[in-house]
């Protein structure tokens, strides 16, 4: 049994099912991170004093650059498929995966540094928010990496049997990945700079 518009677009909406699906998912993610940002706002406004520059700006900046770069490699991974270049696609997808991994490694070192100084989530509301926001974000990076690994590994077979569907799936993965980058673009100044 075939579900219509899995690959081809429905004429009146101009969408394939997965495209609408991933955007709706991202909408729910906006509300998820939104709630956390809202918590940050409420708790910061209600606090008598708020820590300033507790986090390593250099490390945060490097991670920002890494994540933005991974966003570029991700969109190039999709664009390569549209231009029919399988080898370039592999390069860019694996590159995105590696950059994501480096981001997480950096975060590991950051966390370890804070823990060694006793700056745990229980230490203050600032650190509670920092660890929760970046932790949830990091979990999203991890999930993204799992999906990328699938498309680097067993999922790559789909390129042979249904290149259009495979391309779409990479596009949807990219949309998710750009969103993760977008959240970090806001997280970085809010937590590290302000």
């Amino acid at each position: 049994m075939n579900i219509p518009y899995t690959v081809e677009e429905r004429p009146d909406t101009g969408l394939a099912n997965g495209k609408l699906g991933i955007w709706l998912f991202l909408a729910s993610e906006v509300m998820l991170f939104g709630a956390l940002f809202s918590s940050y706002v409420l708790l910061r406004v209600g606090a008598a004093e708020w820590p300033h520059r507790e986090l390593s700006v250099p490390l945060g900046t490097i991670n920002t650059i890494i994540l933005i770069s991974s966003s570029v490699t991700m969109v190039m991974a999709w664009a390569s498929l549209k231009m029919g270049n399988w080898a370039k696609h592999r390069l860019y997808l694996i590159g995105t995966f590696i950059l994501a991994g480096i981001f997480l490694v950096n975060k590991y070192f950051e966390y370890a540094e804070h823990f060694s100084k006793g700056e745990t989530p229980a230490h203050s509301t600032f650190f509670a928010l920092y660890f929760t926001l970046t932790g949830l974000h990091g979990l999203h990076i991890l999930c993204g990496m799992v999906v990328m690994l699938y498309f680097i590994g067993p999922g790559a077979k789909l390129w042979k049997s249904n290149p259009e569907q495979f391309t779409n799936r990479i596009e949807y993965t990219g949309l998710y990945w750009h969103f993760v980058d977008l959240v970090w673009i806001f997280l970085f100044p809010v937590l590290y700079l302000l």
Binding site: E8, E9, T13, G14, L15, K19, L20, W23, L24, A27, V30, M31, G34, A35, F37, S38, V41, L42, V45, G46, A47, A48, E49, V57, T61, T64, I65, I68, S69, S71, V72, M74, V75, M76, A79, K82, M83, G84, E164, E171, G174, L175, H178, F179, D181, L182, I185, F186, F188, P189, V190, L193, L194
Partner: protein, 112 residues
């Protein structure tokens, strides 16, 4: 389908432009934070820069600048409720009209 290979090649150029812009804005936002501006101004500038970066990622990388109506509609609703979630709890907690003493939930030297 989405776009033909020739159109995609053009997009690659815009991806690179956005990439460079994002890097530049990142440097700017870090540099500005080093100026230690007054808190309200610092917040405004940081958020404006972040919003600019975010719009580029959304518009170009996520192709949002030429998406379909349904996507725009869903996102419009989301943005509206996001704004509600951001500001209304804050207003509720800061609003002291008609209550004795200070507003509840806002930092005060002496809780009333």
């Amino acid at each position: 389908m989405h776009s033909d290979p020739a159109a995609v090649k053009k997009s690659v150029r815009s991806y690179m432009i956005v990439f460079v812009s994002l890097m530049v804005f990142t440097v700017i936002t870090v540099a500005v934070s080093g100026l230690h501006l007054a808190v309200p101004i610092a917040i405004t500038v940081a958020l404006v820069i972040a919003a600019t970066k975010g719009s580029m990622v959304a518009g170009v990388f996520m192709h949002l600048s030429h998406e379909k109506q349904w996507i725009y509609g869903a996102l419009l609703l989301t943005v509206l409720f996001f704004i509600v979630l951001m500001f209304v709890p804050l207003f509720t907690v800061m609003d002291g009209t008609g209550t004795p003493g200070q507003a509840v939930g806002v930092a005060v030297a002496e809780p009333r």
